[in-house]
Each structure stands twice: as structure tokens, then as C-alpha cells.
Amino acid sequence: MIDARGLARTFTTGHGTVEAVRGVDLAVAPGEIVGFLGPNGAGKTTTLRMLTTLLAPTAGTAAVAGCDLRGDPAGVRRRIGYVAQGGGTDPAVPAGEELDLQARLYGVPGRGERIAALCARLNLRGLEARPAGSLSGGQRRRLDIALGLVHRPPLLFLDEPTTGLDPQSRGDLWDHIRALREQDGTAVFLTTHYLDEADALCDRLLIIDGGRIVAEGTPAELKRRVAGDVLTLELADASGAEPARRALSPHPAVREATVTGRGVRLTVEDGEKALMSLIRALDGAGVELASLSLSRPTLDDVFRTVTGRSLRDAA
């Protein structure tokens, strides 16, 4: 669906040139949900705007939905849907009119039925006569998505689709996005700030920082590759902490061990498997354990490992 090579964009400002995107290679397969993660200013939106024909790349090539981005932008536009972060509706215009105009501009055959089906599917039925500005946040976002889907694009771009929505609307929207792929095989390329969203929704993630893609993989792969599990041991006696660290450090699964007050914090590869042998090693050293907890890494850990910053701080 997307095959981009060396995509770059330089902006010229009063203070010189800014390299917003510095040579991005990315691929999205049909029916795939790909998440594009990165802090503000990392080049996320610039990349998205290039892929959706809103911004001309200064270097690189890309085929989007089977059309060349530079040579046939009109072809790209016919085959993609795009939902901007802030949406794209006039608050005074009734939802039905926006959908009708959109369908006419794309030349959708059987316009009325298509719009009715979309409204039914995205829980917008009965709202057609309401001005977009009178809809709730979740309804408006679903209207924006309906506008992006009117012409049945094989590829949908979503820019921060759930920003500003309440938790229930978010979960609801995730279901709709998953259904798109399952029912129509639509590929979805979405940017997000939310790590739980990327985790819950995406088949594959791309992490962008400083205008370059710095990590790529499935959420599970990324977590395994860059962070490892965190095992926190609390000891019966604080004096056992240092002996415990010395006993566990040589274990092949342990990447890092640090003493924390009356316990030890370990970064462990494949924690569940290593757990038993780690406890045995501790036992052999004569250290008494009070409690232990094993936590899987979050995408935030991944992000921190890759960029040296927390996504939350960076954002």
C-alpha cells in the first residue's frame, strides 16, 4: 500500500533550513494497521502530509496505493482517505451535507446508499441533519472517519485519531478501526501519542525521532528487542541487597541489576522463563526473598531506550 524510499522534507525559514524529515523508508502492506509513533516535532505530521499529497517531498520517492506520489498525486488522492487530527468539518454544516459533498467530489456511485451504510456502521444514523458542531467529540470523530471512507479507499490515514476523546469513545473507535481491516481489508496508517493505543491497535509500529525512523517492528518485538522485562525483588532484610545483586548479575538472562533500597531491580530477558532459575540462584546465595514482581516493558520503555527520552516528556 505504501512504499516510500528516502522521503525527506526541508523547510526554509527565516533562520535557515530545517530538516523536518531526513530520509524515511517505510512500507505498509494491504490490510495492515501501522502505527507511527514519535514526539511532537519528530517529523510525524510532515511525513503524513507528504504521503497524503498535502506537501511535496524535497527528496525521495513513494508509491502510495499503487500511484506515484510525485507523478500522479491525483491518483493517490482518489485511492486514499485522510482524517486530520482536528477533523475537517464546518461546525455549521449538517453532517449529511458534508458526506454528500464528499461522495460527489469522489464520484461515488450509489451515493445515498453508501452514505446510509456508512452512517449505520459508524453509529451516525439519525445525526445526518445535525450541524457537525452540535455533535459530541466521539460522534464528530466518527463523522470525520466516515468522510475519509466514503469512496472505499484501500488505505486510510488517521492523524492522532483518538486525541481528546473520553476513554469509552476511544475504545469504541478502536473497534471501528479494527472492523475496517477485518471487513474491508483496509490498510490503516495512523499516528499516535498514546502508547496503549499503538499497543492495542497496531500490527506494526514505526518510531520516528529527529526526522528518522529509529525503530520498527511489532509491539511485542519492539518490547523484546529494546527493553526486556523488569523484575523487582524485595528482600526480607536490606543487608541482603548487595549479595543478591552479586549473585544474580552473572545469570545469562540478566542484562542489568541495580540495588534499590531494600531490594534489587533487574532487567531480564524473557523474564517468565528465567524466573525459576533466578530464584534458585538467590536461594543458593542464602538471601531471603520477601516479595517479587515481574513487569513487561511498556512501549514507553521502548521509546525511552530508543530515543533516550520519555514519549510523555518529549510530547
Binding site: I80, G88, A92, Q102, L105, L147
Partner: protein, 258 residues
């Protein structure tokens, strides 16, 4: 080529209808839009009736001088404000949404301009109608020529207003620039009082502004003097302005990151 022309026309129609509905939806816009030209006639026109005797006011009755001026003013201000609508659409994301559709870029401009022009033209007809009721006497042909000037100016001014709105992108930057441009243009074009009343230096300065020629041409047309230098100059200026403005607007809308 044929294909893309047909496409542009049908997209222009769709965009035009969208914005026409937007205008009709706003009751205030409809009522005040109809009222505004009448206010000029009723609240300012009577001041002129005694000025007709003043040397340099020009031939014909006060209404024959005043109505063409207000017609051009309608185009300048009515269409000049068009950019505000585009800025609202930039903010709401409508512009970006439409730009990702295969809609013709030129149509995204022309559809809007057409709506603005229709509104100004209707106001112009209303103004002339009210003028006739108040005592304006002018040949039908002259009135028609005057309205053609209004239409052509409305297209030009709306296009330029959209260019300015795309460049500035916020009301805070757009509004002061708009007044900075339109106010001197209005004063120098002799819209309210003819420039023939002006001292020499002001008359010279006003000859460097385009609307002066169009206003003079519309006044000549209202007097029935069609075969005059004034009408020829006004027509030339209006056509050149039209071509330049629409070309500039279309180029601005076609730019990738506009």
C-alpha cells in the same frame, strides 16, 4: 485536457453550492447583505443632492454619480471580506479535507469566488432597484454595463482576498492588512465623491489605483456615454485585473502546500 475542464466545471458547481448554502444558512448574512446597499442610498445619498451644483461634480443627477460608486464599493468590500471565510475553513480543517479529495484545485477557488460574486451581483441589482425607486434615472444598457463591471471586480477582489488569506492564515494578520489595502483604494478611487473634485496632486495619485478607472467607466455608462475613453480604460483595467487576480489565485490554490 477536455476531461480536466469538465471536472473543474462540475467541481466548481459543487463547491459553489456548498458555499451558497452556507450564505443562505446565516440569516444575519442574508438580511444585512440585502440591507447594506440600501443604507448607503438612504443614509448617505441625500447628502449629495445639493452637491450637484458644485463645479466638478460631473454631469447628470446625484444618483447617477453616486449609485455607480456604491456599486463598485460593494464589490470592493463585499468580495474583499471573502478571505475571512477561507481562514475559518483553514482552521476547521475543511480546506485540508477538500485538498485531499481529487477535486480540482482551481475549482476549490472558483466555487468560492462564484458564490461571492453571486452575492455581490444580487446586492448590486437590489441597489440599482432601490436607486431607481429613489429617483435614479439611467439607461438600461448603462445599468447593465455597470453591473458587468461589478461582477468582474467581485471576481478579481474575491480571488485576491483568498490569496491574502492563504498567505496570512489568521484573522489577526488578515484584517489589518485588508483594511490597509482597501481603505486607501476606496478613498483614491472616488467611490463616494468623484475624483474630479480632487486637487491636482490627489487626482494624480488616484490615477495609479485601478478602481478609479472602473468607477469612472461605470459613471460614464450610467450617463449613456458608452463610446468614451473612460469606458475603454475602465474595461481594459477590469479585464487585466480579472486575468491577473484569477491566475494568481489559481496558482496559489494549486501550490502543493497552500
Amino acid at each position: 485536457m477536455q476531461m480536466s475542464f469538465t471536472r473543474t466545471m462540475s467541481d466548481t458547481r459543487l463547491i459553489f453550492l456548498r458555499y451558497l448554502r452556507q450564505t443562505l444558512r446565516s440569516k444575519v448574512a442574508v438580511v444585512f447583505g440585502a440591507l447594506q446597499p440600501l443604507l448607503y442610498l438612504v443614509l448617505f445619498g441625500p447628502l449629495l443632492s445639493d452637491l450637484v451644483q458644485v463645479r466638478g461634480f460631473g454631469a447628470g443627477g446625484a444618483w447617477q454619480v453616486f449609485v455607480p460608486g456604491v456599486l463598485i464599493q460593494l464589490a470592493l468590500f463585499g468580495a474583499g471580506f471573502a478571505g475571512f471565510g477561507l481562514i475559518a475553513d483553514l482552521r476547521s480543517g475543511v480546506v485540508e479535507r477538500l485538498r485531499v479529495t481529487p477535486a480540482s484545485r482551481t475549482a476549490l477557488l472558483l466555487g468560492r469566488v462564484l458564490r461571492d460574486t453571486v452575492v455581490v451581483a444580487l446586492q448590486g441589482v437590489l441597489l440599482v432597484g432601490a436607486g431607481l425607486a429613489l429617483g435614479l434615472r439611467a439607461p438600461a444598457g448603462g445599468i447593465a454595463v455597470g453591473l458587468l463591471f461589478v461582477v468582474s471586480l467581485a471576481v478579481s477582489v474575491a480571488s485576491l482576498s483568498y490569496v491574502l488569506a492563504l498567505r496570512t492564515r489568521t484573522e489577526d494578520a488578515f484584517a489589518p492588512l485588508l483594511s490597509a489595502v482597501t481603505l486607501p483604494l476606496m478613498l483614491l478611487s472616488g467611490i463616494l465623491l468623484p475624483m474630479s473634485l480632487a486637487p491636482g496632486w490627489l487626482d494624480v495619485v488616484s490615477r495609479f489605483t485601478p478602481f478609479r478607472y472602473v468607477v469612472d467607466a461605470a459613471r460614464a455608462a450610467f450617463l449613456g456615454d458608452y463610446a468614451t475613453a473612460a469606458v475603454a480604460e475602465g474595461t481594459l483595467v477590469a479585464v487585466v485585473l480579472l486575468v491577473v487576480s484569477v491566475t494568481l489565485g489559481a496558482r496559489c490554490f494549486r501550490r502543493e502546500n497552500a
